[in-house]
Symmetry: C2
Amino acid sequence: MATLRDVAKLAGVGAGTVSRFLNESGYVSDDTKLKIQDAMVKLDYTPNELARNLYHHRTGNIAVLVPSVTFPYFARFIECVEGELYERGFKTMICSTAKQQNAEMEYLDMLKRHIVDGVITGVHTLDDDIYRKIHLPIVALDRYLGEEIPVVTSDHKDGGRKAAMVLINSGCHRVMQFRGSQKVKVASPYHERHNEFERVMKEHGILIENYNLAWNHHDSPYYKKIAYEVAPILKDYDGFFAVDEGAAYVMSECERLGMKVPDDIQIVSYDGTFITDLTEPRLTSIVQPVEQIAADAADLIVQRIQGMSFLNKKIVRPVTLKAGGSTISCSTEE
Amino acid sequence: MATLRDVAKLAGVGAGTVSRFLNESGYVSDDTKLKIQDAMVKLDYTPNELARNLYHHRTGNIAVLVPSVTFPYFARFIECVEGELYERGFKTMICSTAKQQNAEMEYLDMLKRHIVDGVITGVHTLDDDIYRKIHLPIVALDRYLGEEIPVVTSDHKDGGRKAAMVLINSGCHRVMQFRGSQKVKVASPYHERHNEFERVMKEHGILIENYNLAWNHHDSPYYKKIAYEVAPILKDYDGFFAVDEGAAYVMSECERLGMKVPDDIQIVSYDGTFITDLTEPRLTSIVQPVEQIAADAADLIVQRIQGMSFLNKKIVRPVTLKAGGSTISCSTEE
């Protein structure tokens, strides 16, 4: 394989000149540029990106941390954010942290060690203090990690309200929701949908039961297990609210027990991923604008890498209702 | 932030000694090692990984290319292979190539430019000639890319046979399958399941119709669209075979048209991902051992990076049948 020196020799210039040209680090005449380019083409020379990155203190890599890649919302987020970052000239590294105890810490450390230029994180298992000490490019997906770390989220409060109103307008009187773990030390945006769902239900005098999910579990076997446990209990309820995967498993378990959807139990799901169309009836769902959220996250991390700083920055995107057959009404009117 | 020179100064040694220690590139006495380690801890010094990688000609990154991250089988493969690579000391970069025309070529180029140490690829949109010219670490998932590139796959031929036998033992007489695109220039392992399915059906005198999928489409909107087109036609059939996502969409469309599963139409799916449990009835499916396949791919790529070469290496893992309610029989006996 050709080296920088081979290129310099063929172009009839010094190696330092080729280096200046490749790193855009000083004056090189147009005539010389053409000679170097010509020599590079002739020799099929590809510069060692590692050396270039070392010079520019830049790797071109951004890490995206999620608890689970197979969880449909995260899978779609990764697909979208990878495309957005690719268009902005960055490569995406992923880490699924649920199985790997120290992965979150290790990736933050990679920021310091110049392996990645930035981190977009949808996980939060460390103390906030750790995040507060890192003044490097981090963007949070649905997590509050300190005032220097911008957050991208959807309007979960409105999502919780919409979900509640659909079930109320459908005539429900006793409802259950799967609620995200309350174990995290600082309230995260996604808690707002559970709180608002509960508040609206109580305001309308409707019995509401919260089923607390285990912390940081987003895998199918977990949802399958709790759907199996919860379905028999739901005979005493007429409304149910959970993320897509939880809702879909609960629906199929209820149907297996002979309950009819929406006659016996009505179901609203959260996220609006492809699995809401796989069930019969289709799931009425609150849709997070994942494409927009991924574009926002990509914009913010690139701006952070370019040196912009943010204080208490929060981007909140609206959610929408997708009508399905799992509820009698799909109205979100008060 | 502390520099290598700060560490050298505090340890009372030369910068070259610290460099030798960090890069394990020459003799450093145990006494000196302790002094350097002590200084590194006191100064909270983290070595610049880029510089180290430049020295070792190694990035620690492996790229995984798939057509779509949200396609359930690929999502699960990525999750598994990321964990396997993490355990072996490598980070995973991903690229979802369906939307990005030049991405496959660009990632191969990244191999040459030392941005990644290896590529595991589940896509195949380029000419085989391009792959034959690259004598760098590549491992293929379900694709034949040349004799130097090892392939990990499952026993698709047996999978096609098992799927056919389940429908035959269930009493089907007219069946349809979604068949992977025949447009790729070289036969890929996954074609074998379609060919074997067709062969066994014909051998048993059963009418078999192939519905050819568009090339390189693995997205939900596509499967949703063709399920909508195909479901009315399936009134004239009594058996159907497709990948999980296609099977699930077709099942829900058929149910919407008033057809009963398995009474009117029986369905077998391929892959065995979590979505086979989301439908009612559950899908009878042929399960690919994705965890094992991911571990194999990780082993092979690390061995390639370490300098091992393979000629016509192919790892084939057995598939299994997962019984569901979408077929009357779940027997694969001849």
